[in-house]
């Protein structure tokens, strides 16, 4: 495969090169993981223990971070008192649904946009992505009023539609790029051989663009699951998601750091799982087409 030979050519490595690579990546990984490590370990400590830091400059004292008695009280608080269970569910339902709608319509639309001979193609393309550039605050207010009128405010379907306002343009734009990169000749050949438009779409175009479509889907889920502003204003209570729930843990009397840390862990785990499962497609997808001349 092309990638392998590229690797073999480029990777005539020198020992220095390897050492530098390893050192850099190790530093980077430490920098990447240390905040999460601190969060993870703090969420199973009592608040008082979590707040204990050694004297400044007491490097040995850093090991105290490991000295604690594990407790799951913060998770208990989250689920029993704050009611986080439904939030997780709402988040999953809304982000998955919105991503599916965005990707299905987006794939169809992107295909049409990519293959069709439209005079205004570049402009349409840019218009589509520019809708995603609008500041969320300004989009939210009119959406609030529309949703209220149609009675879908503070409902799951309403939030799904709200998420689709930015997922759809994003999918359209991204997937169109993938289709653009796939040579038309294959489809044209199939068409001349007698396949219908649908067959060509179904059997050739989509499979070839599959990594990109999956990448798009994953990114849509990610952005929706992590969204705060839309869920906060339009989601209301019946469609509250985890990010909104987390901000509510900052009460007037005190900031509930324990539950916040616990909620952070809950928030990130599904996405890491998703990323691990789909990582191959994600990277491949962003390679924009595996077919090269």
């Amino acid at each position: 495969m092309a990638a392998n030979s590229q690797e073999t050519i480029l990777k005539k490595r020198t020992p220095i090169g390897t050492i530098i690579t390893v050192v850099v990546l190790v530093i980077w990984i430490v920098w990447t993981l240390s905040p999460l490590f601190i969060t993870a370990i703090s969420c199973i400590k009592t608040t008082r223990e979590a707040f204990e830091t050694p004297e400044y400059g007491d490097w040995k004292g850093v090991l105290n971070i490991f000295r604690f008695k594990p407790t799951f009280i913060h998770f208990e608080t989250l689920f029993k008192i704050e009611g986080f269970g439904p939030y997780i569910w709402h988040g999953l339902v809304c982000s998955l649904s919105s991503a599916i709608i965005a990707v299905v319509l987006g794939t169809l639309g992107a295909y049409g946009l990519s293959r069709g001979k439209f005079k205004q193609e570049a402009n349409i393309s840019f218009w589509i992505i520019s809708t995603r550039m609008a500041p969320a605050v300004v989009v939210i207010v009119p959406l609030y009023y529309i949703f209220r009128r149609f009675g879908i405010l503070a409902t799951i379907p309403g939030l799904i539609v709200a998420y689709t306002t930015f997922n759809l343009p994003f999918s359209l734009w991204l997937i169109k790029g993938f289709f653009d990169d796939i040579p038309v000749e294959i489809e044209e050949a199939a068409f001349v051989d007698g396949d219908t438009h649908w067959d060509v779409f179904r059997k050739i175009a989509v499979p070839l663009a599959a990594p990109g479509i999956v990448a798009s889907f994953v990114l849509c889920v990610l952005i929706s699951w992590n969204d705060f502003l839309f869920a906060a204003v339009i989601g209301g209570h019946a469609a509250k998601t985890v990010p909104v729930g987390i901000t509510e843990l900052r009460t007037t009397v005190e900031v509930l750091w324990g539950p916040i840390n616990a909620a952070t862990i809950i928030l990130i785990i599904p996405m890491i799982a998703l990323g691990v499962l789909i990582r191959k497609y994600l990277i491949q997808g962003l390679t924009m087409g595996a077919v090269r001349e």
Partner: protein, 507 residues
């Protein structure tokens, strides 16, 4: 045939565009002007229930309705949640209490009220951030107070049953003859200080500064500077800093700045006929006069010695610092006494805290001839009813208002969970008065002696109640904050403030 098709297609396209455009304009126009109130569902339940009222039971008139109360996440609301079953048994009305930080409450209620909708029947009506903006959108409660077919607290709702002019602060705005909210919780600023450390170091302090280390009603902001210098020293190892301000940009910050400013000559940004009522457009502001420049200059000295996060903590930051021994003193809101006295959270618990009025102005810093006062301000939360509701739903909402502001409930909550009552009868109840001394089961009560002294003239500064309060607070916090950070000089700051505040009022 080809030509026909073309023109038909073209026609359809043009017609479609026109319809779309016209439809858009209509829809936008409809929403730009006030939309018609479309919600009928809950109305019906209330109406039906009202028809079935048994004779004489005025509490159950609206049984079967459902109300939503959007509140800040303050202790009284958390406490009310615990007693909701009682309310349901009494009235048959289901109440859903939502809690959030003030800025979110503001945001959600604002969109609701301004858009003509009724998602939140009851709003937590924080006097300045929300009341000044939304007063016109809340229902007038005077008819309910005078209506004999609605339940009322036996004490009534006259001005004198509440803390000093608190009904005006919460409920009356801009000279309109309406009462738009009833006082529900109070957060009055008083001084929390480590009495134990004051006692421990009194000799050392007297040696260094020449007067006793004590906190009284006459302690001035200049004394605070001395206290800060004293406690900042590493010799006083129990605490890191002497004093911390509240911080939070936009709300607590504005209150922070207002105290030393008002303490010196009762200086305020605007002249008003009645500061407890406010005005819609206050006209030109007083920033730039000599007193304002002098006060800002002195405030810089205060902030230079205060805990560095004094300009940026969020709500609970300074309380946290006090609890963990980072500061020896802070001006804090009475409701925090409960957590400060909690041995599980606070090293200051166990009789170590003293409470007093906010510091007095330092006479030598006053040049406008005004008095030196213990400037006290507060955030008075009221409870208001969404004015977009139908009359029946407003009346149903009133049931909750009456219940949650009743003397009985306020007293129960105070005893159990550390509430913040607004009725004088509760604040001066013999049990509560007795609880103001240690040992006590009601820590918040310890703040009431200084609070009761401080909420009356000449110490109290309730305003400025103006519709653009939020923008004013933002501008003020930013510019004074810059001055306190050393980014711009006091005189320049007052010039900028004068220009900006006059600009937003069209002066």
């Amino acid at each position: 045939m080809f030509r026909e098709k073309m023109s038909r297609r073209q026609f359809l396209r043009t017609a479609g565009k026109a319809a779309l455009g016209g439809g858009m304009l209509y829809a936008v126009g409809g929403l730009v002007s006030k939309p018609r109130f479309l919600w009928a569902g809950k109305d019906k339940a209330a109406k039906e229930a009202a028809k079935k009222v048994p004779e004489g039971d005025i509490w159950r008139q609206y049984a079967g309705s459902k109300l939503v109360f959007m509140s800040e996440n303050t202790p009284p609301t958390s406490a009310a949640k615990e007693y909701l079953q009682e309310f349901y048994d009494l009235t048959g009305i289901e109440v859903d209490i939502r809690q959030d930080v003030l800025s979110t409450v503001q945001e959600k209620c604002g969109i609701d009220l301004k858009g003509g909708s009724t998602a939140y029947h009851l709003n937590y009506a924080q006097d300045k951030p929300m009341g000044t903006m939304f007063a016109d959108y809340w229902a007038d409660m005077t008819p309910f107070i005078e209506d004999d077919t609605l339940p009322k607290d036996p004490e009534g709702y006259d001005d004198d049953v509440w803390g000093h002019r608190w009904l005006d602060v919460c409920g009356r705005f801009y000279g309109e003859d309406k009462i738009v909210s009833i006082p529900y919780d109070n957060a009055v600023a008083v001084m929390f200080y480590r009495k134990d450390l004051f006692e421990k170091y009194s000799k050392d302090f007297e040696k260094d500064f020449g007067y006793p280390l004590e906190y009284t009603d006459d302690t001035t902001w200049k004394n605070i500077i001395d206290f800060m210098k004293f406690f900042n020293s590493s010799k006083r190892s129990e605490v890191e800093y002497g004093f911390g301000f509240q911080g939070l940009e936009g709300w607590a910050g504005q209150l922070d700045f207002q105290r030393p400013i008002f303490a010196h000559g009762q200086w305020q940004e605007w002249e008003m006929e009645d500061h407890f009522i406010g005005v819609r457009n206050p006209g030109p502001c007083n920033w730039g006069d000599d007193q304002s420049i002098m006060t800002l200059t002195k405030m810089k000295d205060l902030y230079a010695l205060a805990h560095p996060e004094s300009l940026s903590w969020d709500w609970s930051g300074v309380n946290n610092a006090f609890q963990t021994g980072k500061v020896a003193m802070c001006v804090n809101y009475g409701e925090f006494a409960a957590s400060a006295e909690d041995p599980d959270q606070s090293v200051a618990a166990g009789g170590k805290i003293g409470y007093g009025m906010d510091p007095k102005g330092e006479p030598s810093w006053i040049i406008n001839g005004g008095p030196a006062v213990n400037a006290t301000n507060y955030g008075l939360g009221g409870i208001a009813i969404n004015g977009n509701l139908s009359e029946d739903m407003q009346r149903a909402s009133w049931m909750f208002v009456a219940w949650v502001t009743s003397a009985a409930l306020q007293k129960t909550v105070l005893k159990k969970l550390g509430g913040t009552p607004t009725r004088m009868s509760v604040l001066t109840d013999p049990e509560v008065v007795a609880a103001a001394k240690r040992p006590t089961t009601m820590p918040n009560a310890m703040t009431y002696p200084p609070i009761l002294k401080a909420i009356v003239a000449p110490h109290v500064v309730p305003g400025p109640k103006i519709p653009k309060w939020n923008e004013y607070a933002t501008i003020q916090c930013i510019e004074i904050g810059k001055c306190m950070h050393g980014r711009q000089g006091p005189e320049e700051t007052t010039k900028i403030l004068k220009r900006k505040l006059d600009q937003i009022h069209g002066v």
